[in-house]
Chain length 216, copies 2
Amino acid sequence: MSESPFAGRPAPARPPLQFYFDFSSPYSYVASEWVNAVAARHGRTVQWHAILLGVTFQAAELKPPVAHPIKRDYSLRDFERSAHFAGLPYRQPEHFPIATHNAARVFWWLHDTQGAQQAVSFARAGLRAYFTRGVVLSDAAQLRALVTELGLDAQAAEAAWQDEHWKQRLRAVNEAAVAAGVFGAPFFLIDGEPFWGNDRQPQIERWLASGPFTRL
Amino acid sequence: MSESPFAGRPAPARPPLQFYFDFSSPYSYVASEWVNAVAARHGRTVQWHAILLGVTFQAAELKPPVAHPIKRDYSLRDFERSAHFAGLPYRQPEHFPIATHNAARVFWWLHDTQGAQQAVSFARAGLRAYFTRGVVLSDAAQLRALVTELGLDAQAAEAAWQDEHWKQRLRAVNEAAVAAGVFGAPFFLIDGEPFWGNDRQPQIERWLASGPFTRL
């Protein structure tokens, strides 16, 4: 049926989705639960990037939604509603937002020393732990316990998050994200096209299915 | 089949959707094109409220998305992409954003003197004119021309937007919107539940179809 010059050859690999998230971002949690499945349906993979949302907010002169008086109540309501809409459990953490640099450094330590898949497993577990069980990832003891739960070496993880090397690694990741135009989380770069927010899922699905639908 | 005590009686009327928009809001334009149809599919009507986004931003200590350096480029791209995703034409107006108090006063003047339907027709025409043809609604001559195009009395419209009565009417509408928790546009209140943004359409559809899907 096909007259494609590629008939009989394997399809050329399409570039992976770039997925930026912060461990303290409820919408990142929701997106983390669908991004791999959506990408896979379209023959794509996902590169996960743990970033610090605070750094991108600062670069874009933005504040988190819960910092605004009227917007706060709405946001807390919308976090849970958006999770339930996606079929996910959600429990608003009592401590919110939290500092996520230690968790993000563990992510990059795992990424560089044990591979992307291990890092992604940790990311998904961390987001679920925080947003369904209130595990405070900024607390050293709770972060160590989570790492242990996942069968990883908690002592090595703690050494990593205190190590200047992984601090610098995360700084470089944040700078690269800001340079790429990332100003929030979750944030997606797909074939160079930026998509901001969990609520861009339908547009992302259409983009993956049939490419650009806009003249820009 | 039914054991409802209402069997055989007409279903009780369900309350209308409250839809808040600003004439200079691209996402309001997109939402204005689907809100009535979506409501109608679920046996609902829509009450439209022309508001001034600037007033709600101020109350919530927010800035428009295009006021932020990095967010601006993304927003301009996303405006058009979101319109095209919804199957709508879009042309980014050269003059953007614009003051919309005159257009909003014409809306309320029509609403109170000729009925909600006439006001909604004007709103849809105004949003389309601005976002597909660049008609500058803040310009008196262009606003008069638009009113004339719609078969309405341009002189009476101009008298209305300069009249203290309609200025006060709009101020009261804005205050009521802020009091109801509105901090952006488009904004929807459905059975008391707040939904912010054109991108909440899927959640709105589910809410209308099957009610609350969250514990809050």
